[in-house]
Symmetry: C5
Subunit: 336 residues, 5 copies
């Protein structure tokens, strides 16, 4: 069984019950209070924010008649996004993503939705915060059409909130890619390499979280769940478009990042080339000169050149000539 990190104490269960006219909100202690809302015609949203309280979830599961496999899947936070039809309800698994500014990493929290005729149960892993704040406000204030619609619209609104948040993460990653591109052009360092690798990982991670979503929302749009009404389907088509757009952008970013690695490699090779040219020029100029100086530093008795009075300045001229010829040669080869 693959279960996320435990975080102690109690589960947080928040209930939001509404219809066009009324809205009622409370945080419950005992799960028994949930059953009150079950048979009312109002739309009920029960949000459980700590799935490590197995009893809480099992009680809720019992109350709403959830299949044991569904409960297992809710507890297992390594699920990939999916949608499954169980007769009186639909089970949807999604990934809510956060961008951690300190570490520059994308963090995922699994959200499981149970969509019934007049209720939505949502289960979060219990990580701090979620993306449903504005949605809750819209319900409380009765803004928009949410209060007039059913549970299926509520589920849509939640999926929409999650998918819309992906764009924020993409924007952050886009900024990182842009600044990386600039670094690549101006002064690539080993840090650039690590950043490329880290971005590559984020992309792989993101892709794994978002790719299956396409299938999920597509099947919701096609009307595989009988709980989704025709009027809501048009909104889901919009979310579907957003998902495709997210996937497109991820693929584009992937392409760009792997293009960067190639450029990085090329520019490292280029700099190596530049370094080697400096070395070669220096060595090629000074080695023959040092050799000549060495020759006239020899102690042979019979070295006639040593006696001639003009040979020292003549040698200087020769050496300068050699140096100049070398440099001209390198300039012609475009090494300078």
């Amino acid at each position: 069984m693959h279960i996320g990190e435990k975080k102690g104490d109690k589960a947080k269960v928040a209930i939001l019950d509404y219809d066009e006219a009324h809205v009622q909100e409370k945080e419950v202690e005992t799960i028994e209070e949930c059953s009150v809302f079950k048979d009312q015609p109002t739309v009920t949203w029960i949000d459980v924010d700590r799935i490590d309280h197995v009893e809480t979830i099992e009680k809720l599961g019992g109350c709403y008649g959830l299949h044991p496999l569904v409960l297992e899947d809710i507890l297992n936070t390594d699920q990939r996004p999916k949608m499954e039809e169980y007769d009186p309800y639909s089970f949807i698994v999604l990934k809510m993503l956060y961008y951690r500014d300190q570490s520059g990493q994308v963090d995922a929290e699994q959200v499981s939705l149970i969509l019934g005729k007049n209720f939505v149960l949502s289960f979060q892993e219990g990580k701090e915060g979620d993306v449903f704040g504005p949605l809750r406000d819209r319900i409380r204030n009765g803004k928009g059409r949410i209060r007039k619609m059913g549970a299926d619209y509520l589920a849509y609104a939640m999926i929409d909130a999650i998918v819309d948040h992906y764009f924020i993460i993409l924007e952050k990653l886009g900024e990182r890619i842009e600044s990386l591109e600039e670094a690549l052009v101006t002064q690539p360092t080993t840090g650039t390499l690590k950043e490329i690798y880290s971005l590559k990982r984020e992309m792989i991670f993101l892709r794994k979280a978002v790719w299956p979503l396409r299938e999920v929302i597509s099947s919701l749009t096609r009307g595989e769940s009988l709980l989704i009404q025709e009027s809501t389907r048009i909104y889901l088509r919009d979310v579907y478009d957003h998902t495709i757009q997210v996937i497109d952008t991820i693929e584009t970013y992937r392409d760009m990042v792997s293009g960067m690695l190639d450029i990085y490699l090329s520019s490292v090779s280029n700099r190596l080339n530049a370094v080697m040219k400096v070395l070669t020029i220096i060595a090629t100029v000074f080695m023959p000169l040092t050799f000549l100086a060495g020759v006239y530093g020899m102690n042979f008795k019979h070295m006639p050149e040593l006696e001639w009075s003009w040979s020292y300045p003549a040698l200087w001229l020769v050496m300068i000539a050699i140096g100049v010829v070398m440099l001209v040669y390198f300039r012609k080869k475009k090494w300078l």
Copy 2:
């Protein structure tokens, strides 16, 4: 909400209303004037060139009964090309591309089309210029068959103008690729590398803008929209062919550009090799000679060679011999 850059002042709304006999053109101030054309049998083209005037678009949307999601999509300029059926009208999103000569970059402007029974609404982001100039002239002058056909043909003509403009961009990029190829063969520099990367990015960008278009036009051709008449469909098939041709060319360019990067890397390695050979030849020739000179520069009391009168010229001969042997050896190894 992802909305493009604001550009101040007023929206430009241009109306072109025509049938086979008449044509009427005006720029309106208040959107209310638009509703006049709504119920006439003539074909009406309302072109809004600045989508940042939200009120203008909402009013127009109200007048023509557009769905809130459509209005949202028109305002969001990060859409990918798509086609959506709403009951009495079709909603089409396209990307109009420009080639910016100064920066060498491809710039995109989103165009949203609403195709109704006898009208086409088009919404542009408000970037300077568009590709519909020749089309407007054809309507004004009554050239070609456009004045005899309905709104569906107008929509086709607009899509055709946009897709045809892609070829101009491809031509520009093709020229850049060709000059890059030549640079690669004659003298690859760091600039070549940056140009390769920049071309690669343009390709990714282009691909993202054009690829979904295939699906859009294909679904128009298959007759998913009831507003498209049989006689227009044959023209759309032609646009479809053009789109495939554009995609094909983009893919070919991508292949060529990534081939170039490989060649660039190889040729950098080659040049490094050449540099190292020069260094090695110089070092291999002069190091032993310098060593020998150093030996006879030593100050030992008892070095018999130093006394002999022929040892200095003999050493020169030995040193020349060593040098020649080395060079012959390198020639045999094809390093020279």
Copy 3:
């Protein structure tokens, strides 16, 4: 014929026969005892743990009416996972994977299942251990719903046990990838390279074993076998999800490992660059200085500088100046 390694002596045949009320377990010597269970209404699981006893398998095949091709496939341990319908039974081939801690390698054992109306025959290669221990306990103790269900549920439970064990292997590989990543960042060595290659191989191996499983379980879920009851199918759908998850993770790991190789190559190039810079700095500083020292070590009679009393300290100053200029230059080029 491709048959796995022989391991001598006798086949181990274990029978587990149960219904809701009773459970009977025995290890048989002669295969004839198996036929006793054939026509009873209880669920019978016959597990053969050494397929190199051809007679044993042929006798069992005769008793349960297995097709010669099925027997051949059971004996051939190079099968890929598959499912085949033979009229009164289904034939399923799976790969049971073990992680060998000593060698760090993933080892596979082929498991062939014959699912009949009220029996499951399983054939293992005979490698030590299997993953069915907990399942056997559940049958013995009557825990869970297994004793209440038919042979199809038993087959599901076996497949589930095998697939669940894949996660353990993925976890081990995940740990290796993580520690490899760290090594890559801190101090990449040749060992890192070998580890990358070894992980790459494991991924290829794993992929080959798991990929076809998807198809197998999918066809079981779709109800291609009439022996699978509706109530069991919902459990198979769960296994199917797990399989997809395993495949997803393998693909992610593959991406990460091949990303690592790129990073490794880049960082090797980087280090080469660093080494070359050190060499170049040293050579560029000392070659001119050594040349100067060589010049004033020459033995020409007429070298006026040698006579001047301040020329030695002056030369030192010149040499120090040259060195400082060089270092400043390299600092400016960011080589230091």
Copy 4:
């Protein structure tokens, strides 16, 4: 509008009209003569070899009732291969390829076919030569079954001639790949690199020309055109096989060429390694020796070694020993 290079003067229009008994051939001046053949039961092949004469093509189009889009497509030589059904005729676009021996490049000429009930119109760009020579001979001499069959068989025979010619181009490219492979093994040079790149480009070009053909011929084989009779379809299936074979070979060549680039890169690295080893060995042997010689070239007053009579030969022994130890060490490291 994308139109190929203009080549001046007149269009060449050749008419070949035949049935089982007669054959009539002429080159016409005015296109009006074409209409004579239109309503005869004989098969008429009108071959226009210079599409830049727009009037010629438009007159012919008028005579045979061709759609304006078809005429446009004929004039645009950047079409990709395609097949389109227009009611009384089929429109097929193909690429005829030539291998230019001088430049080693593959050149394409677009051929547009109009297949009607009893006629085939073919339009070539006007490049010198075509591949229909043997076909014309077969018609003139009444060899084979061509004179007994209808216009659909003629169209088949033309497509077959074009596809068969692809094999000749593949053979030429195959020879180049083989000689490249040999060069790669014996002595890779910068020229090898350019040849690899040039082959890669040819492959991309070829692929673009041939790939869509598959779809074209497949749709002809499936009988989408009512003009193709059952008896001809079996021959088209044969052409389809050839097309697949051509595509297969192109893919194989692509794989081989990109494999070559990897090998080239590896062998460049290898040679760099070899060069560096030579340099390192030389430097490692002579640097310590030169240092020692330098030490005993110093002019200190108090250097007792200088006085001893055996120190010079002893130093030689030491230096030889150092050199030998170095070389043994390098041999052990397999650098020699």
Copy 5:
């Protein structure tokens, strides 16, 4: 027309005619003898082992009513594997592969099968040997079920023999890959590189020969040929599994071989790094020392250090100190 190499003299035509009770075998001289068997109820296998005898094949084709395109395909040995339905017979093309131990290359021989109601015609290119030996023995001795079955089973048995032989080739290639892997780890040389490339080519070749087979056997299994009886189809399903297994293994090998090239490149870079470190250490240690020795070898009149009695040993100490500091530094940087 693409025809394999000619090999002179006569075609070898071997006839094997059998039913459950009798078997008759002969090698014929004139093809006319073949027609005797045509209308008998026994199963007839006519094996032609040299397709360069065009007359032989044409006569046989006439006798059995083969379509001219089939005869053409039989003579053309560059076919890819395929299956085609002609009304009273099926035409199947396969590749028989041999492993040439001397050259280490995989060689292909095309086998064309004509499956009729009660006969199988097989055409081989005429390369030495085939894989049907054991099959012939089984027919002669009446072992297995072959004598009891019809011509469709004979065709299956032939395909099975060919596909089973692929495993032997894969095993040989697997051995080569394994020994290559070991070489890669212990001591990669230029030979390793050539072996990698050669293996890569074999894989491309193998893939091209085997990949289309999948489609061929799949269509036989699906019952597209009416000549294949239900009872034989279950055996073909088995061959299909084997084919998939072969393709799987080829893909795995391809992955492994291209992984090897990456590793090879990395390890070449690694060794280059090691070489450069040695060079850099030597140069960095000795260059400053040689410079110092050069300084005190200068001949300035006024160099006070030269007079001091302790300056020579002091310089040695300084030089040793410099050397030690350098080595400690390199050790700290992990270069030693």
